[in-house]
Amino acid sequence: MTAGADASADTVSIPLDKKLEMYRMMLDARLFEEKAHKLFFEGLVKGTSHLALGQEAVAAGFAAAMRSDDLTFCTYRGHTHTLLRGADMGALMAELLGRGNGICGGKGGSMHLTDVSVGAMGSYAIVGAHLPIAAGAAWAAQARGTGQVSVVFFGDGATNIGAFHEALNLAAVWSLPVVFVCENNLYMEYTPIGAVTAVPNPAADRAGAYGLEGIILDGNDVEAVYSTATAALEHARAGGGPQLIEAKTYRHGGHSRADPGTYRPDEEVQEWLDRDPIPAFRARLEAAGVAAETLDTIEAESDAAVEAATEVARSGPFPDPANLETQVWADGGSSWRN
């Protein structure tokens, strides 16, 4: 599929339980982040947080298609990606609140969620840096013959930084099993990507520079994402080399923290709210005969999970001050002298 084509046409038949799993994933992500947003305004989430509200279909479609030992690399906008690989929701929420029971013991915070045990290999807060790192993990997979695939998510803005270019070229030359996924939500922080990018599709229109096909995808269609992801993972796993996918999507809210996102035209926001991936998928599921109660139950379960996670976080202890100086080194400490 080349730039301009719509990947949803490729949707293969997806088993119902996979569909329901993805529905649950999207709801988990949505409700988790809506709660995080609330907690930010309560002053409980310190520092910053970058929500992916509206972008859940990309994370869900990929996570559902990945093998359990595949590796995810994401950005500061990484709550959803980390959660949907299977990280513990309570530990994630606790991390946002800077608690000792957080997934990184409070050392990482919202921008650095990581759960290596489920293949969530880190959230990277400097734009573009994780692309070569993901390629490196794929190189190790190739060298060791593990059959793992690295999947690396990044924004449209990341396509203009040097590391993007270096990673794509290396991955292509070494035929590495890595899938590069650009979540094009049309904006950097506040600047429209079109204002600072030489091509209309910032990722897909550059695929040719690395001998790759440019794949464009409706990132709000979770089934399309799942199908494209499945194909890309298979391709990479089979030794076909990297893939570059541009998923068109939109964040419902601002870039981070309290940003209201007012730099975006109202009509544009409305148009994308109308394309919210969750109700759209629900409608499709219902049309396909899934009972509303089934979906309501899933929603209620997600809600309960988020409430429970919130409780775990709120009641979590603050980090032990003794942990301030641990885990700089592999010996567990931080000593640089004798």
């Binding site: 919202s110 650095h112 990277y124 506040y190 600047t191 301030l324």
Partner: protein
């Protein structure tokens, strides 16, 4: 005389210079239409137009390369690197190209440019958005390094930096952005390389920079109540470094403590300490002391971050150790 935040002082300083000199241009990520992620540059694009105040792609090498090339060819550009941590993504341009061009060409190339960035911790942003990296820049010959501690100095030192014919790394301490100060109307132009004795004292010299200055002052007040009279020196710029003011103070007090936000190793505190040990050894009545963040990446959790960075309390308790004997 209006109250100005440190944040507002940035825009005021830039505007003062853009008004004065049509060759001053300003570029960076999200700085123009949106006024900057820290709201430090609001209104500049409206006032000076989209040619002179421009948004860039997320391309730090292109941004710093652009101001370098532009400075070679008739502009006096200012670039913003959003968080000083991101200097790492363009360190080649800054440390290997900008810093060295004049020397390598024996003076053929002059680079009157300023690169501003939000520096330091305290905002719970985690290890990749919180570094105090003034020591990275200080270690590179050819870079001037400025880090104001208050709104008045932001305006004055920014103006001095823009007018300076050499490349200046201008570090705004992000935990100070909300701090306020009375700042007079009218043009303000400071001077690079002049430290300020912001509190006179007889017993201990405390040398501090940026966010550590108000904390050192607070610690000094605490100790005043305990009969220890602390002198606080605000370095304001690291390059050029006002060694004279530091030495004069040490000669007076015979004791010196440096307070820096940097992780432990190779910070400016070590440099100042070494200079003093070499040049005022016989004036010292007690070992020097460096207060720093431990040699760790900065943690995100508020409680841990507060523990990591030198606070007024830890400064005070360290000063007590040095005593006034």
């Amino acid at each position: 005389m209006a109250e100005l935040t440190y944040r507002q002082a940035v825009a005021r300083g830039i505007a003062q210079e853009m008004d004065r000199d049509p060759t001053v241009y300003f570029i960076g990520e999200d700085v123009a239409a949106a006024g900057g992620v820290f709201k430090t540059t609001e209104g500049l694009q409206d006032r000076f137009g989209p040619e002179r105040v421009r948004d860039t792609p997320i391309s730090e090498e292109a941004i710093t390369g652009a101001v370098m090339g532009a400075a070679m060819n008739g502009l006096r550009p200012i670039a913003e690197i959003m968080f000083s941590d991101f200097f790492a993504t363009c360190w080649d341009i800054v440390a290997n190209q900008i810093a060295k061009a004049r020397y390598m060409t024996d003076g053929q190339i002059t680079l009157p440019l300023v690169i501003r960035a939000a520096n330091g911790g305290g905002a719970r942003f985690g290890a990749q958005h919180s570094q105090a990296m003034e020591n990275w820049a200080m270690a590179i010959p050819g870079l001037k390094v400025v880090a104001p501690s208050n709104a008045h100095d932001v305006v004055g030192l920014l103006a001095a930096s823009v007018r300076d014919d050499d490349p200046v790394v201008f570090l705004e301490q992000k935990s100070l952005y909300a701090s306020r100060q009375e700042v007079p109307e009218g043009e303000i132009v400071g001077e690079l390389g002049k430290a300020a004795v912001v509190r006179e004292g007889a017993d201990i010299t405390v040398v501090a920079l940026a966010a550590m200055v108000p904390r050192a002052l607070e610690a000094a007040e605490t100790l005043a109540g305990e009969g220890i009279d602390v002198e606080v020196v605000d370095l304001r710029s690291l390059v050029p470094l006002d060694v004279t003011t530091v030495l004069n103070s040490v000669v007076k007090t015979s004791r010196m403590v440096t307070v820096e936000e940097n992780p432990r190793l190779c910070g400016w505190g070590a440099e100042v300490t070494s200079i003093v040990t070499e040049e005022a050894f016989y004036d010292l009545d007690a070992p020097t002391l460096r207060i720093t963040t431990p040699h760790i990446p900065l943690p995100s959790a508020d409680t841990l971050e507060d523990l990591a960075m030198p606070s007024a309390e830890t400064i005070a308790s360290e000063l007590r150790r040095v005593g006034n004997g």
